[in-house]
Amino acid sequence: MDYFFQQLINGLVLGSIYGLIAIGYTMVYGIVGMINFAHGDIFMIGGFIALITFLILVSIGLTMVPVILLLVLLVAMAVTALYGWTVERIAYRPLRQSFRLAPMLSAIGMSFVLSNFAQVSQGARVKPVPPIITGGYTLHDSGNFAVQLSNVQIVVVATTIVLLAVFSYIVARTRFGRDMRACEQDQTMAALLGVDVDRTISMTFVIGAALAAVAGMMYLLYYGLVDFFMGFIAGIKAFTAAVLGGIGSLPGAMLGGLAIGLIETFWSAYFSVEYKDVAAFSILIVVLIFMPTGLLGRPEVEKV
């Protein structure tokens, strides 16, 4: 039982990171109906900015870990959000009236641009940081197996919950959230009723990028390294999570992320580590056969 709980913790933390990235996919899909393939790389950029900010803060002599973390979080979110906004402005907005596949191709291109940009400007090597948040708690020790919860894991899950609550509130309760939901339903009608569609879409990308930056920073804290190609695999996993949860649905993305994280973890825990990705994708296929719109998705007819 202790072993089960330990694996549950492992899976939940991994799932939280997937979920944070998946939200970016799902929000963009919900509002403009395109899959933003560059999102995984926005996540990678977020990780790099967190790393750079961290190194700058340490080099100017800041030593209080909570202050550093908060500053890193804010800077990473702000700068990455700027990337998200720029990508939308130069690569997607000009193609919004074009045929449906155009922005998607442009997104794939953007993904290459971003990862190559990181490779050229930051170098091809893996960038490690020494463990920043150390220590943890022993939750239960049965003598031969101690369930450990590390402080990093607490930080990752707590940050995810807080951010998810904040952004769910924004979408459900604020003026901006109402604009977003209006654009999601019908852009022309929303525009007629005085909603600034361009601005709303821009803000969606900004929020998605900011959440990806948080995921990037959590990734850096948890695994202790970033590299220019990490966006690809993480992006694929998060995209899968978004589809599994029902693309377009915010809680669905989080649920999908947790599901993928848990499936991978428990599969490696009780079966073979080798086939964990196979297991995750097989379950995705099974779910999609019986629930084509994902776990929490609503059927939408005209969008692909």
Partner: protein, 373 residues
């Protein structure tokens, strides 16, 4: 039409220039993972090769010509390795020092064989590299069937009656090393408690780590590269495990310690006796230090690989790969690693592996030796 003509002219001129350059120099290649997660090792290979080319040219070159270095990047990817090899082959380059990853060296060697390029790997330890009866391959490092025996010896001696797990990353190198170690362990009557594989490039090993914890593993042997090993170590310590991590020669770069920080203390790995401490390497190590480069790991192996080739070319009076190969296999060569001689397959005759241990300051040192058989 005018700009087109201009471009044509410029193109023609540049072609003429590059062929002119070819006529005066001998181009040799170094190939390895210059980018990607194994780029730390690509850097080792490149440092060794650049230093050798500079030293040789300063001493007057080879056969009256200067050496020129072509750098190939395989990113530790078999497909890319093959295409780099084809590029080197079609450029008429007679010699390549590389690659690093066994999964790159092996497919590349076939392309080199097709286009008659002599390949000396400084670092690929998978036995298969020299076991396929190819006429164009040599290696200046050891083999995993020797490395695995030394690792197993150490485990049997120091972890008798304890629980051992073996993990591998499914790559040619990692799986090969894990299999050889397992074979040697089992031969000594030692049964591992767990044998699992993971995907190279994975970042989350928490699930495997919890399994190690459940099975009370005292030592985990990782057949894989330093990045994944570093992450496994970090995640083990996060979950409160004191399990010792042991791995192979792909841990001989300081980058491992920059991933783990002081947690590296106590981690073991096998590698040839430290090349930097060999009396034959003293002068060159000084030169590297002046440039601020630590010639660790396979840096000096690459230097030695190029030394063997260059000396053989001088003796043979030609760069023709077949003739040079004959000369290399017939002779004995003074290198920074000491005297090297090769057997018919292309392996070096005397191979030693020793066990190293990392400390908490980010350094590693030999702790004992054992001869491979």
């Amino acid at each position: 039409m005018k700009p087109l003509k201009l471009i044509g002219l410029a193109f023609g001129a540049s072609l003429a220039l590059s062929t002119a350059a070819f006529a005066q120099d001998i181009t040799v290649a170094v190939a390895g993972p210059m980018t990607g997660s194994e780029s730390a090792f690509g850097r080792q290979l490149l440092n060794g090769a650049e230093q050798f080319v500079a030293d040789t040219n300063a001493a007057g070159g080879v056969l009256g010509k200067k050496l020129k270095l072509f750098v190939g990047d395989d990113a530790c990817d078999p497909k890319q390795a093959r295409s780099v090899a084809e590029k080197i082959g079609s450029a008429g380059i007679p010699f390549v020092a590389g690659h690093f990853c066994s999964s790159s060296s092996i497919p590349a060697s076939e392309a080199y064989a097709d286009s008659n390029v002599l390949q000396i790997t400084p670092a690929s330890t998978n036995p298969l590299f020299t076991e396929r009866k190819l006429k164009n391959v040599l290696r200046v490092c050891g083999r995993d069937d020797q490395q695995g025996v030394v690792a197993a010896d150490y485990i049997v001696k120091n972890f008798k009656g304890k629980n051992v797990a073996i993990l591998n990353d499914k790559t040619t190198y990692g799986k090969g090393l894990a299999d050889e170690t397992k074979k040697a362990l089992n031969k000594a009557g030692f049964q591992e408690k767990m044998f699992e594989s993971y995907n190279k490039g994975d970042k989350d090993f928490n699930s495997i780590v919890s399994r190690l914890k459940r099975d009370n593993i005292d030592l985990v042997f990782v057949g894989g590269y330093h990045q994944e090993a570093g992450l496994i170590l970090r995640q083990m310590r996060d979950q409160g495990l004191k399990t010792v991590l042991m791995a192979g020669d792909a841990m001989n770069d300081k980058e491992f310690a920059s991933i783990t920080g002081p947690l590296a203390a106590g981690t073991l790995f096998t590698f040839g006796p430290d090349p930097r401490l060999k009396p034959t390497a003293k002068a060159i190590v000084e030169e590297f230090k002046k440039k601020g480069v630590d010639p660790e790991g396979y840096t000096l192996y690459t230097y030695a690989a190029m030394q063997v080739w260059t000396e053989a070319v001088k003796k043979a009076g030609t760069t023709d790969p077949e003739k040079v190969m004959k000369v290399i296999k017939a002779g004995e060569w003074d290198t920074v690693l000491g005297k090297l001689a090769f057997d018919e397959k292309g392996d070096i005759k005397a191979i030693d592996y020793v066990v190293y241990k990392w400390d908490d300051k980010g350094n590693y040192a030999e702790i004992g030796s054992g001869k491979g058989t």
